[in-house]
Point group: C2
Chain length 132, copies 2
């Protein structure tokens, strides 16, 4: 319960790996996948997603790869999680109102309070803190 996904885990591993390298050098999905034992295709898609989000920059062709493009100090963990996985909360009814029994739910308000606490917590942490 309250787990992050593999996708996010792989993304964090990749970011940290890239950051530990020279700013200029590129890193391919293949290299990271091999080093950490991550499924290459899945990691590639995650890197592509981060590329679309502007977190990393992609370079095509042989000798291509990825490098960090954003200032990781300026991206909160909350924003990062939401870029990759969508809205962040303990329960979905925090966002959409599709909960079957939303009308006679008796814990909606307290749950939202906790949700806010959690979102605040992740808002105050930056990607840099993980990848540094």
């Amino acid at each position: 319960m309250l787990n992050i996904t593999r996708k996010v885990e792989y993304a964090l591993i990749a970011l940290r790996h890239m950051q530990s390298k020279n700013d200029i050098g590129l890193t391919s999905a293949k290299e990271i996948a091999a080093q950490y034992g991550i499924p290459k295709q899945l990691l590639a898609k995650t890197l592509q997603q981060m590329s679309r989000e502007g977190i990393v920059k992609a370079v095509h062709g042989p000798t291509g790869g990825y490098k960090i493009a954003a200032n990781l100090k300026k991206i909160s963990l909350k924003d990062f999680f939401e870029k990759l996985e969508g809205p962040l909360g303990m329960m979905d009814c925090y966002f959409d109102s599709e909960c079957v029994q939303i009308s006679n739910c008796n814990i909606r308000v307290p749950i939202q309070r906790i949700n806010n606490n959690m979102r605040d917590m992740f808002s105050q942490m930056t990607l840099q803190e993980i990848t540094q």
Copy 2:
């Protein structure tokens, strides 16, 4: 991502329902299931689990049911979650060391830091805050 489970949701709904009633009265699983549109059998099992954990007290037979048995002010949300769902953390490798690539993982330490933050947060909230 970072969701709680239905089981915990149902448990919270049940607790809050019971607390809003007279201290003496019992509440059956059937009653709660009907009122909130929850699968009865599943709710029953959850109540049984809470009974084993000493959170509620069960009374058999017709006119039987459940009532709150513990002091909800003294049960942290972290403990409650762990009683129902086991160890609480963003990643399993926080607890068991079965992670395939635990040896060359580069985010283990920072992830554990976040885990601790999250566990601290839920340690400081009590069940009472939700069900009051």
